[in-house]
Symmetry: C2
Subunit: 456 residues, 2 copies
């Protein structure tokens, strides 16, 4: 899924919002401030996102066994009862507080206590229960999380909260990211049982490469004003993450802090506030004027409204995921690996991931080398089922392999194709009907420099 905004509107009936982000959906406010985790006073390092009321919330978290203290606290606050295990959780929540600079990972029992204290401090300022606050941290690991910046920063953060604060929040969670990542899309409830309602899904994210000096994290906070129950919200999030953030691979590492949270305020179904949309096709505008019959309801599983929401959520997640791959450490190219003709979804994923993770493929792209041989070798060792005589490979629209045999092509023409910022590798395994897409970036000298320098 990598379609343009216009194609979105035509195909799915939803629209990108200008300057959309984590506070675009009604019922949410956000901010980003400098609290003091970083030395540079000009650098934002704390983000706060608050829902007007406690609302359904779902989280997908790292499966890394060295999972960080904030991840453990999030899972517990979202009602995870399977202590000791790792993974998802969902329930209700009011706010999420995020700091950058220190990851609060590999910090043991003291780190857990610190994360709990941060949640309690935030709850007091926001005016909710401790268990309604989620926490996330990103940055250096193995270092104690200082509480001072939270103590000083939280009152300021509360004052800064606004519907326009998404952009600052997106900046505050950056680590080695070179630019903030945020977006939002809007869709109409007309004809889906929600006539007059206009719904928004938005979000922000950071990451995907690991950072100096230790390790980074992928963090995404998503919001929607659609009315969705926690369990359904979780189901939608897992599906969307599987098609987006989990299809990004920069250096094949899963960090200790990976966190993706989705809040659903339901505010759009209650007819609150105004909404502005991009006039892409001149079809959608105006206010949400939800009728009385829409209140108190939620999107039902498998309903047209839920389908619409799912598409919108996936579009937001894919947009953020692609931005993360494109901004991988030292990356000069966004690489999209499309695999089709796989026997199973697992085979499609194995094949696409083997190509996307191959340092040999990634260095070849950095060198503008149409090296089909390395792609073939990566497919061959992926574990996916296929016969070499059925394989076809197309690089940037240029067929380079058919029936498992190389095709003649002009090397200069091929090299020139690598001038594009986005490099597409299309693979057909000729073994079935399953397909997938994985995003990565090239492997450059800059990557080695960023990750190979002495710790300062």
């Amino acid at each position: 899924m990598s379609i343009t905004a216009d194609a979105c509107a035509e195909q799915y009936g939803f629209f990108y919002r200008e300057n959309g982000g984590v506070a675009s959906a009604r019922g949410f406010r956000a901010c980003g401030i400098h609290a003091g985790f970083r030395e540079n006073p000009g650098r934002l390092d704390m983000a706060l996102v608050v829902a007007d009321e406690t609302c359904p919330c779902a989280g997908v978290f790292t499966k890394n066994k060295f999972c960080a203290a904030p991840v453990q606290v999030c899972r517990e606050h979202l009602g995870a009862t399977d202590e000791g295990t790792i993974g998802d959780s969902y329930g209700t929540a009011r706010a999420v507080i995020i700091n950058s600079g220190i990851a609060n990972a590999a910090t043991g029992a003291l780190g857990k206590e610190a994360a709990e204290t941060v949640a309690a401090m935030t709850a007091e300022v926001v005016g909710c229960e401790e268990a309604e606050v989620l926490v996330a941290s990103t940055g250096v690991i193995g270092v104690e999380l200082p509480l001072g910046p939270f103590e000083e920063g939280l009152p300021d953060a509360l004052n800064e909260l606004s519907r326009d604060g998404g952009s600052d929040a997106a900046r505050a969670i950056m680590t080695t990211d070179t630019h903030p990542k945020e977006c939002a899309v809007t869709f109409s409830g007309d004809g889906c049982g929600w006539d007059g309602c206009i719904f928004t899904v938005g979000g922000m994210s950071k990451g995907a490469g690991m950072i100096m000096p230790n390790m980074a994290t992928m963090i995404a906070v998503l919001t929607t004003d659609a009315p969705i129950a926690p369990a359904d919200l979780h189901k939608a999030l897992v599906k969307a993450v599987g098609k987006s953030f989990n299809k990004v691979t920069v250096d094949s590492d899963t960090s200790t802090n990976d966190t993706c949270i989705l809040f659903a305020s339901g505010a759009a179904a209650q007819g609150e506030g105004e909404v502005e949309v991009v006039q892409s096709e001149g079809e959608m505008q105006g206010e949400s004027t939800a009728g009385a019959e829409a209140c108190q309801k939620t999107f039902q599983p498998d309903s047209p409204a839920m389908e619409m929401f799912q598409q919108a959520l996936e579009q937001v997640c894919v947009t953020l995921a692609r931005a993360m791959a494109s901004d991988g450490e030292g990356a000069s190219r966004l690489v999209t690996v499309n695999v089709q003709g796989a026997a199973t979804p697992e085979d499609a994923d194995l094949a696409a991931r083997a190509v996307a993770n191959s340092p040999l493929v990634k260095t070849a792209i950095a060198g503008h080398d149409a090296n089909w041989g390395r792609i073939a070798a990566a497919l061959g060792k992926s574990g996916a089922e296929f016969r070499q005589e059925d394989v076809a490979i197309v690089l940037m629209g240029l067929p380079v392999m058919l029936n498992g045999l190389p095709l003649e092509f002009d090397e200069d023409e091929a090299s020139a194709l690598f001038e594009h910022h986005e490099i597409a590798i299309d693979i057909d395994l000729g073994a079935g009907e399953c397909a997938t897409t994985v995003w990565t970036c090239d492997l450059t000298h800059e990557y080695v420099s960023i990750n190979g320098d002495y710790r300062s």
Copy 2:
């Protein structure tokens, strides 16, 4: 297993041979010549290893689905009956012919025909059946294998065959290797039912990184003059490869041409020729004077002689494997990852491999950074079972993590430890009794340059 020659002698009773290689075992001759696959006339590019008589032979081959034509021919000549599948094979053989420069991979039916023709040409020159000849190729893929250099080179190669030709053969199979890789060890049959016999295991190898412009191969040819039946030889080879070549990872890629072949002439059991050994402990010297009762026998499974052979074979394979990791593309350091305390052998392997394949760990080593955090993160995502609070990590003898928490250490002292050519990472998962060792190299700017340059 990374013990010194002296320790070998003391612990296992075998000795490294000076200048030992693929023709050190009795019953074998070898050579390396310039046949014309490469333009530089000073560069050897064809190796021939011939047994005096047809003898037991076992092969372990790439599992890559894009396996090259010579690999398919080897499997068939060694009697593989499971056509269409991939993997091992064993039977009898007389010779192996290897060219470097062109890999004869991704060449389809024509490539298979070429590999068969090479085997037939070699058989005619050597004086044996076509099915008794194995073939291996390494170099550029997707390019037709020319037969001219074989036609011209094979008569010369026959003339050059000698007991001293192992070193030239090792040079002839090099691609991006910076030096040839060969060794041999010797052990006595005294007390194992083979009194008076002195046995040798030797070999040569090339590779482990993929090469420019396309992909390389790991090739190893091993020989022994111990008397071992094909099925037992295969069993021993699989076990040794599992502890050596399969524990090397340079860029996590398995090539299309990976080939490891072991011949067993049995010549030492027949009292032929002389043998010189390194006088490491002054214990072994002189000729093999196998008594009549030893003739016509083979090493029996689980016998003391077979145990001795297994240890010697593993020592040769580990020595070659370490040399390959150390000579990985752009490598400045050999990295040894030791994992202990794993719940299962599979967990030990998953954990060690995750660390050895992590670009973040490998760039940190290139940057002399004692970055325990990246090691912990790699362990955490490996899939191995453990609890973070049980993990200990020691870097070059310096404890950096205990009970899952970082330890204080002097950064300058730690950086200085990286001046050594060999970097040891010792990990205890605290989850069981299983252990393993994996070898890799660091990830340097040089690696990106070698693999990222335009194809010429």
